[in-house]
């Protein structure tokens, strides 16, 4: 018999968070495709892609549009951070925060133990598990370095007034290496962890709908569930 009871749903992500994720997602796919099609222009498929977008001029333009969009998302996050800290009087290192704390190291250790079958259960993750925090911060910090090296490549005439010329070469090397790292990490590792693990397969739509269920929360973020229960903050379908 199928369970006919309506599942209790909770809001996990706000509209802003979902909008930023969606924007970052599309801009990231765009910047990755345009960037690699230029970096691997010696290969015919890359040239075919560039041609299909109307030549290298429009590909460069799109790459920069995506870059600016991504950085605007970073600025949005920083503005939100200021709002959260000074107007909402939020706690940077509380259990609901995305910041890394000592607890995450312990969770990481225990989680590795679980993966290697040394423990029977995963650790009681709080609102954000260690890999969720890693996903966030790799992109946040990665955007600073990609942005900096990208600016050096965008305006070499300007920046070479302040730094030696070979810094532009270094910027090119680092921009490419980090692009490979970021794209392979986000396209394969991030996607697999969030959608293709047996636990979440065929997909975890929470980041797009913003909704999570009681059952899912108890399974994936038991620490958060226990804390909310203890403090009596649970309001189904509403803001926490």
């Amino acid at each position: 018999m199928a369970d006919q009871t309506v599942q209790e749903t909770f809001r996990r992500f706000s509209v802003l968070q979902r909008a930023v994720h969606l924007t970052v997602m599309f801009a990231f796919i765009g910047i990755g495709l345009t960037g690699f099609s230029m970096a691997f222009s010696s290969l015919a498929p890359a040239r075919a892609f560039v041609w299909s977008l109307g030549g290298v001029e429009s590909v460069r333009y799109l790459h920069r549009v995506c870059a600016v969009t991504l950085y605007l998302c970073v600025i949005t996050e920083v503005v939100w951070l200021i709002y959260y800290k000074f107007l909402l009087r939020g706690n940077f290192f509380g259990p609901h925060s995305i910041s890394f704390t000592k607890q995450d190291l312990l969770h990481f250790r225990d989680h590795m133990g679980y993966i290697l079958a040394l423990r029977n259960t995963p650790p009681p993750f709080e609102r954000f598990a260690w890999w969720e925090k890693l996903d966030y911060w790799t992109l946040f910090i990665g955007m600073q370095t990609m942005g900096l090296t990208g600016l050096l490549l965008w305006f070499p005439e300007f920046f070479s007034r302040f730094v030696p010329g070979y810094f532009i070469n270094l910027a090119q090397v680092l921009h490419f290496d980090e692009a490979v790292l970021a794209v392979l990490y986000k396209f394969f590792v991030h996607t697999t962890i969030r959608h293709f693990r047996p636990e979440v397969y065929p997909g975890d739509w929470t980041i797009f709908t913003g909704k999570t269920t009681k059952e899912k929360m108890m399974r994936t973020h038991p620490g958060e569930w226990a804390r909310l229960n203890a403090s009596g903050q649970i309001i189904p379908g509403g803001e926490r």
Partner: protein
Amino acid sequence: MDRFPVFFCGLIRATGSTILQSFILSIIASSLFMPAYAQPAWCGNSSSSSDWFLDMNRFSKAAHWTLKCDRCHSEMTIKDKAHPNRKDPRAMKKNSLRTYDYKRCASCHPESYKRYLIGEHANALSKQEQDQLSGDKPVSSERLAPTCGDCHSSHYAQAKLSRIAIGEQMTETCGKCHPSQKISYLKNIHGQLGVFLQKKASAYCTDCHGAHTCESLKNKEKAWAACRRCHRNASAGFAGIVIHTGSEDVLKKDPKKQADLALIATVKRIGQIVTVIILAFFALQTFVWILRELHNKLRGR
């Protein structure tokens, strides 16, 4: 698709004799399956650009097609002897590139020839000739510095090519003697944009090194002037960007640039190692994680 067998059957029936059939089929097969270098000259792919023998099919498409032979070849002398020198049976076996008097090109291309004479290639050639005369450093005829014919095919070079087509040809031509520079150029933004992505505003070899002068840009001032031809706001530091980053491209006499290249190579290597380690860790971790969850699911937990 089913028209093709019908077409071939018709063709074979029409030709009648079996010898003719096999001849036609062998021509079709050879033009389809033979590699370009193995195809005969009538395919229009003769590899040598300047030779004693002329491929009229290609010559008829070339820039010099309108000239009569004697415009370039009359009153020709080789080392003060008339050509063809009937007394010397080896004359035809000599490399025509080294025996032709390229001063003749100057009669129609005076500016190019003048620039060639003040350029690095003419410089190198005269140095080699002096060395050979003094017997210091004998150079084999294949390694001699180039004259007009080494870079330009006088019989087959076409006129009115697009800037991009010229740039592509130039990369190949210069790359014959400067292969490591060709590789590093094609890895550089200029080569990628100009050759692979067909952006004609990009710089090809001669845009920086000068047409026919073929200057080395080791001198910072010269390099800066070359940069500013396109990057008008470039500062002196801009010329410090290394374009040819291959290890063979930089002379040992330039320790500053050597150090820059070593730093770039080190950063590149560290970046690659870090990238591989991080990706390998997460790929392995995710894989084992999936196995663990599969195990749980199969156990019904």
